[in-house]
Amino acid sequence: MNTAKSAKRRQNKAERIARVGKLARGKFVSVDKVPEVLRRIIEPGDILCLEGDNQKQADFLANQLATLDKKDLRDIHLVMSCITLPAHIELFKKGMIKQVDFCYAGPQGTAIADLVKAKKFPVGAIHTYNEIYARYYIDLTPRVALIAAAQADRKGNLFLAANTEETPAIVEPTAFSDGIVFAQVNEIVDKLPRIDIPADQVDLVVQAPYPMHLQALFTRDPAAITDVQVLMAMVALRGIYEKYEVQSLNHGVGFNTAAIELLLPTYGERLGLKGKICKYWMVNPLPTLIPAIESGWVESVFAVGGEVGMERYTAARSDVFFTGRDGSFHSNRAMGQLAGHYAIDMFIGASLQIDINGNSSTVSKNRITGFGGAPNMGCQPTGRRHPTKAWLKAGAEANPGPGSPPGRKLVVQMVETFQAGRVPTFVEELDATDPGIRKALHGVTPVMIYGDDVTHVVTEEGIANLAACRSVAERQAAIRAVAGYTPVGLKRKKRETEDLRARGIVQLPEDVGVRPSEASRSLLATQDIKGLVRWSNGLYDPPSQFVDW
């Protein structure tokens, strides 16, 4: 019997499209026909990709999918970046999903923890973004991809606007393996501002009755930044940015790093750091970066996604941001993650829990959030070969052996010792080691950033330079030294801390030249959202939930 493969997939695709028949006019499907079209193009056992990352969602198509039942759709292998919509959870509750492979589940983290407990969450693995995009080309190639675009023209070319994000990373492997690409669009127009996805790679299009869901994920209101966060920002600026001359970097989404951005034009300027640090960014268009951009600190910003309200500002600052020939903002999640992995001096971000070995996690027993992109950036890219000043300096401190790279990426965890409600950030053991969670993940503990990759931990107590530690015991002592008055911190020994401080492995604010008395919100370039609008010369349009004037 001849079982060799030839071109059966192509034939199968033609059959599926034929089944759609008159439900579509050419590529175009009307809103009321979408559930039936989905039923006809998806087969049992399919790998189905739903577009949706932490910002942009093909929410109309997801909602239509959730109206179907197990008799319509079963044994689906769902692959997607982010499980964020109630409709996604519905697919599991209806028993349509045979397996799921995904990256992140922010708002549905509690629902997923419940599904895990009920054994209704057949997860293959939780990935990082680039990891799952890579698998779309290897063993998780979608048969059908449901995606979202801003506009389509009459041929089915797509314009993705500011939120290109992961669309190309989904469409390419699907389209080039005889899969079906079905796009929801906000509108259909005669002429697109620019073509991001050629019609050739798009099989079906529906004009959704409502615009795709976009989450303003990276907007941090300066009004919520505290004096303690200002202190930590000052310590990080002097003890890390200035020390290593960090030129290229990624910032997480928290208030700690927002404080750093807002200190650049004030405190940073006074320290004479302009032009020496923070020139090249792999980060979304953060509104809190506006004052630094307007003050001439920033050479370039490449982004994995857009940010609601930053459209006019980014278009007007095309020397800094990547823009299409139509002038509007461009992002690309896969390429941004790649840039964040290989081409930056430093990743700095926050976490909910850090254990005594420096492992961090955002998982708690009642909430499974997954990874997103942080581990792609918050890790040592040992495939890297190009040197920079910061990379070599951090590498020299780590005292590399003859079989190690000479440099190190700075991977910095910046956390307050306590979370809201007096919950300690530092723990002896991560909640992520919970046996139920580990069992669901086939033995993998969902660690966000591994302690071995972390070079520094910054808290309001000071800096612990983990890269300079020479043993596991020393690293644990350094972490306890900056863990404040958490149970982990209270177990530190005075003599050990003093020894580490004498060797510069633990540094208090004073040791890096920071005066705590200066740590005040008044040092920020602006104290509120309105100030950001002013800094942007009226080009920033904050989302309504941030506007109180």
Binding site: V228, G484, Y485, R515, P516, S517
Partner: protein, 107 residues
Amino acid sequence: MEKFTKSFPSKPLGAKTAKPWALAGVVGSGNLEVLMERGSKPADAMECHVETSIPGYKASWLAALADFAHHYPAGGTKVTINDQGAPPVLVNLRLRQAYDHLTKGDK
């Protein structure tokens, strides 16, 4: 409400300070006020008076104050703290700020 007083060993404060007393923070929800005054005795102890709206955290307070007295020469000062539920991370910052104001002035 919880009140306690305790002295912690600390190296004597320098002979000269910018001012005789210094204040950092305000008594407001989630915040605290630290008043630091020189001239208390003995010269090798930091005398602390704490009044906090949230009981049950005495061990953390004592640890934070002991560390502060250990790290900074604050002997011969009297520290009065009025706390209204400040997060633990703020306690250390306000102590350092009061000390900074006392020794180096407000600028």
